[in-house]
């Protein structure tokens, strides 16, 4: 084909490369539609090669061309190609496997201090609630939200309290609904606690502390009636998992808040980004534990009525979690 010789330099530049750009555009559209994984080897290779070529074209065009239409086109094309070439290459399954096998427990161990703070907030809250109740049972009404108590208060009879813990006829009581409600309540608390951590640490710690207070007065009420061990069993079967999840979420929240409060040498946004790597993993672990707790709660608590069985199951599962955190992701020796 005879090339027109009267073209100015930038028009010649364009004419020489136009076909490649068109091909790249078609490949990018294809990659965006069906993903890189489903493209043939040749296409994927061409996409990468043509992308680099287009990048060079753009750099040259910025220097030599004053054609605004061309510059805009190249900008957009290169950007689209860049986004297709640098797409995440991982599969969902690979990510889950890696998280379970390694990155989850490793993050847990790395931020043990924050998790400890989370557990401390709840533990101290529990202790405070317990002591407050011993001081004056009226604290129960102050601290316990009405809908959570479900009629269990200092005026209830001991036999009523016992009947709630050992449910004789699970299907009729709607306890399943209550348990699910409690789950969504705790899930919300966990998210709250994590999210609030960013807004400096105090809200996360306070909320966890308050959650501890509730449990404290609740336990004190039952201990007062001589139902301490029975409640312990009732709480253990799913509470070991569920309350730990809240504490871990709180730990993640504190970690974020600490990054904002004490950014060190980095900017606050930078510090937040670094802390987020582990904190997010803590949140995912907490979410996993909450889902597990919901399953245990949905079935176990109604089906298993024996105190010792409840204790054993609850703490065994707790031990398994702990083992995952301590052993997971260490190099096999």
């Amino acid at each position: 084909m005879e090339e027109p010789t009267d073209l100015i330099r930038s028009a010649r530049f364009r004419k020489e490369r136009e076909d490649d750009w068109m091909r790249l555009e078609a490949l990018v559209t294809k990659a965006e539609g069906q993903g890189l994984r489903r493209m043939s080897f040749g296409e994927a290779r061409d996409l990468a090669a043509l992308y680099r070529e287009a990048t060079t074209s753009l750099a040259i065009a910025r220097e030599i061309s004053l054609d605004k239409g061309l510059l805009r086109y190249l900008e957009a094309l290169t950007a689209r190609a860049y986004l297709s070439v640098y797409a995440p290459q991982e599969s969902a399954r690979g990510i889950v496997a890696r998280f379970m096998r390694k990155s989850g427990p490793v993050a847990m161990r790395k931020s043990w201090f924050f998790v400890l703070l989370g557990f401390l907030s709840m533990g101290l809250g529990g202790l405070a609630g317990y002591l407050l109740y011993l001081d004056d049972p009226a604290w129960f009404y102050v601290l316990m939200p009405g809908e959570l108590a479900g009629g269990r208060n200092p005026e209830a009879t001991t036999s009523y309290l016992r009947s709630v813990i050992y449910d004789d006829d699970p299907s009729a009581s709607g306890l399943g609904a209550f348990a699910t409600f409690l789950f969504s309540h705790n899930t919300r608390i966990a998210i709250f606690v994590f999210g609030l951590g960013v807004f400096l640490c105090a809200p996360a710690i306070l909320l966890t502390f308050y959650n501890g207070l509730i449990i404290g007065v609740f336990v004190a009420l039952h201990v007062d009636r001589g139902l301490g061990w029975d409640l312990f069993g009732w709480l253990s079967i799913h509470g070991v998992t569920e309350l730990s999840a809240i504490c871990i979420a709180c730990g993640g929240g504190i970690q974020l808040g600490a990054a904002v409060l004490f950014p060190g040498q980095n900017t606050r946004a930078e510090a937040l980004r670094i802390a987020g790597r582990d904190a997010a993993k803590l949140a995912i672990i907490a979410a996993l534990m909450l889902v597990a707790a919901a399953l245990i709660e949905g079935f176990g608590r109604q089906l298993i009525q024996d105190r010792n069985a409840r204790l054993i199951i609850g703490w065994t599962i707790g031990g398994l979690w702990l083992m995952w955190f301590v052993r997971g992701g260490r190099a096999q020796s």
Partner: protein, 303 residues
Amino acid sequence: MRLRRNTKAPAPDPNVLLPPEGVPLHLSVAGMGARFGAQITDILITVIGAIALVVLLAVMNLTSPQTLWAISALLFFIIRIPYYVLTELAWNGQTIGKRMLKIKVVSRDGLSLSAHALVVRNLMKEAEIFLPGTLLLTLDTASPVASLIALGWIVGTIMVPLLNKRRQRLGDMIAGTYVIDLPTPILLKDLAQSVPKPVKDKFVFLSHQLDHYGALELQTLEDLLRAQENRPSMQTNARNKATLDSVIEKIRNKISYAEKVEPADSVAFLRAFYNAQRAHLEQKQLFGERRQDKFHADQTTKD
């Protein structure tokens, strides 16, 4: 504590992203409107998904009506987070809503999006969008303190993206991502390519005549000419004719072009001038002299 860190280098342009190849790309940060729209679309999709599942459960008679309510709340929550993470992973930073509104999540460092970043930004969405949203629905005048705190939080989360240049949510900051408008590549015809031979000979511009204008004027002229191309009906429009005439008149005065331009030739004249001007400017540019606009002469003497 220092409130401002003045030692930092001036903040980079938020619309520029630097890929590993080292050629900066202009990707404009998405507006709040588009993001809000995408968010609404996605919420609708997940809610409809959850409702469909609940209806399925109800039809199959698997649960009692009491538990159904709790289960639906749970389902919405369980569907939601994986939906965002998995769609953004599969479509490289786009959910269905984002696809519809042509916006996309990109990584700030120019590398590809990591699974971690996607998980983080969507986990934080719970605390930043869904909780304030639920709080807004449950604002209770009976407890003014709680309502005030809730309102404060809602305002706070809305303010965060408005206060930074890249419109990042907190989740975006932690994940190191931001949301851009997806550019659409449209290759327009090169104006300089299609000049018929007779026209080229008809209008001849001398080098000193082309020294007056810079890139800005050239590209403004380009826009004008492209408008003529895209809508041929304009050429018969009286107002358009007047505009062209006045533009030609201005150019003729500026460059002291003696010959009269016939009304029928006005577009041809402008194209010929565009061509010559572009060739001239690009030639200058090659030798290291960039001419921004018609005031370039003053600029070069000042520097």
